[in-house]
């Protein structure tokens, strides 16, 4: 999820405030696929990613494209608007009750030495790593991926060499949204969700992205690991309701010593 946010910010310098709500839609989509069509989220996430890719392209083409040159506060207003629309349309369609997707791996665990590992979480983790590696390969090895990196590196330079920057932005936003759609489907089996889950999810992923360094893909990945470990430890040693205190304290400490984040470079 944080990887998707980083991609969108890195390429377009647009902060996607609707990121969490896009994830919630990914979760509901996984839920519909699972309850109506009996498709397990571990397969359904591909469809969720595909649908969210289209949503991302539509949001970019229809909305973000018009305000890329506008001041940053316009982008914030716009993306908050998109977030509100997504959250409330989820509320209208699915109602306020928390839902949960029953995956095939529910309650299955494996013992690794003294530890009991929840299989659902393990599979989610592995799939997330595989997806991150695939995304990395796409960005570094394919022509389109390289063009996306070029546009992120120097948007004007990309325009000069004749890149259709609008198309590149649409693809990048779509892939960013697809990442979060897949993420939503993959965590749906162990995270109950309701339409209001979007904002906290957005905030958490911002935390991850800022800790990792804005615009850095490895930063997003390791930031995600760091934040989730910090929150789990906080939940065990303090109390579960205080876990955010730990992750946001971590944010403050890291910003004190590395203002650009762990992997970030200073923006000129």
């Amino acid at each position: 999820m944080a990887v998707g946010l980083t991609l969108i910010f890195g390429v377009m310098r647009v902060v996607n405030f609707a990121h969490g709500d896009m994830m919630v839609w990914g979760m509901y989509l996984a839920w519909v696929l699972s309850t109506r069509f009996g498709l397990d989220p571990y397969f359904g996430f591909v469809i969720c990613a595909g649908v969210l890719f289209l949503v991302g392209v539509a949001v970019q083409r229809g909305l973000v494209d018009r305000i890329l040159d506008a001041p940053h506060e316009m982008q914030i207003l716009l993306m908050l608007g998109v977030a509100l629309v997504l959250e409330n349309s989820a509320l209208m369609v699915f109602g306020p009750e928390p839902r949960r997707v029953r995956g095939v791996l529910r309650l299955s665990t494996i013992d690794v030495g003294p530890f009991i590992v929840d299989l659902a979480r393990l599979v989610t983790f592995v799939v997330a790593v595989v997806l991150s590696v695939l995304l990395w390969a796409f960005l570094f090895k394919s022509d389109l991926g390289r063009t996306i990196r070029a546009a992120a590196d120097n948007g004007y330079g990309a325009l000069v060499i004749g890149t259709n920057v609008r198309r590149v932005y649409a693809v990048a936003f779509g892939i960013g949204a697809a990442c979060v759609g897949a993420a939503g489907a993959l965590v749906a089996p162990f995270l109950p969700f309701s339409p209001s889950a979007g904002l906290p999810a957005s905030v958490t992923s911002f935390n991850i992205v800022i800790i990792g360094g804005m615009g850095s893909l490895p930063g997003a990945f390791f930031g995600g690991l760091l934040v989730s470990v910090a929150e789990s430890l906080g939940a065990v040693f303090l109390r579960p309701s205080l876990k955010e205190v730990v992750s946001f304290s971590l944010l403050i400490v890291i910003l004190l010593f590395r203002p650009a984040g762990l992997f970030g470079k200073r923006l000129s």
């Binding site: 390289r146 070029a150 590196d153 120097n154 330079g157 990309a158 325009l159 000069v160 004749g162």
Partner: protein
């Protein structure tokens, strides 16, 4: 010789500012033409309007007799105009090789990417040695070579260069200008924008002088080099 580029009555600017008014110029295929003038005369704006990075307000730009003004820059590049912009505008966190390969965008240039890359490395052997280095870590001269190489990767008919000598040591400028002559000799038409008037006039066949957004003088470079006003205004003697 056939006219490759015709600019007629071009006007362009930013907001309320009109940077270029009624600029007209022509390039025949195979020519190397300089566009000279002082800082702020509108040289960069003229180039940007030709390549579609800035939408012209008035006037026409024709490539091979076809109107290209108003087209998106990606469409203009696809028709065979490559632009080496002011400040080079490389991709600093990508390697030299990636920067060069990104220059090949059209299907035709992509197909012949390996072949063009060899040509570019023959022209700039230095870049071959540095191909796996990040572009941001190169010296200014190497960055300029990379920017020119990236433009050549598009296999352009017309190459536009914006101040390729800016900020470079004289010996590096000499080498780059020699390469421009070689690129031109290989059949690429060149429009060179320069503040280094003496070098630009020595290299080019013809030149236009741009002052306050309009062309004030045009002619064979050898004649401009001998012109009293030019000598006084730009060459300081």
């Amino acid at each position: 010789m056939a006219t490759l580029l015709r600019v007629d009555g071009l006007e362009a600017g930013y907001g309320d500012l009109v940077a270029v008014r009624a600029v007209s110029l022509e390039l025949a295929a195979g020519e190397l033409v300089a566009l000279i003038g002082s800082n702020g005369a509108g040289k960069t704006t003229t180039l940007r309007a030709i390549t579609g990075l800035l939408r012209p307000r008035r006037g026409a730009v024709e490539l091979d007799g076809e109107r290209i003004d108003g087209l998106a820059s990606s469409a203009i590049v696809a028709r065979g105009i490559a632009h080496v912009p002011e400040g080079r505008q490389l991709f600093p966190t990508m390697t030299v090789l990636e920067n060069l390969e990104l220059g090949a965008r059209s299907p035709e240039s992509r197909r012949r990417r390996g072949e063009t890359l060899e040509d570019v490395f023959r022209l700039f052997p230095h870049l071959a040695e540095r191909q796996h280095q990040l572009a941001g870590t190169l010296s200014g001269g190497e960055q300029q070579m990379t920017a020119i190489g990236r433009a050549l990767m598009a296999r352009p008919r017309l190459l536009l260069l914006d101040e390729p000598s800016l900020g470079l040591a004289p010996v590096v400028v000499t080498s780059i200008f020699e390469n421009l002559a070689r690129i031109n000799a290989a059949g690429v038409t060149v429009l060179l924008v320069e503040q280094n008037v003496l070098r630009a006039l020595r290299l080019s066949h013809r030149a236009y002088v741009l002052e306050n957004g309009s062309i004030t003088l045009a002619g064979p470079s050898a004649r401009l080099l001998a012109d009293e006003d030019i000598r006084r205004a730009y060459l300081g003697r």
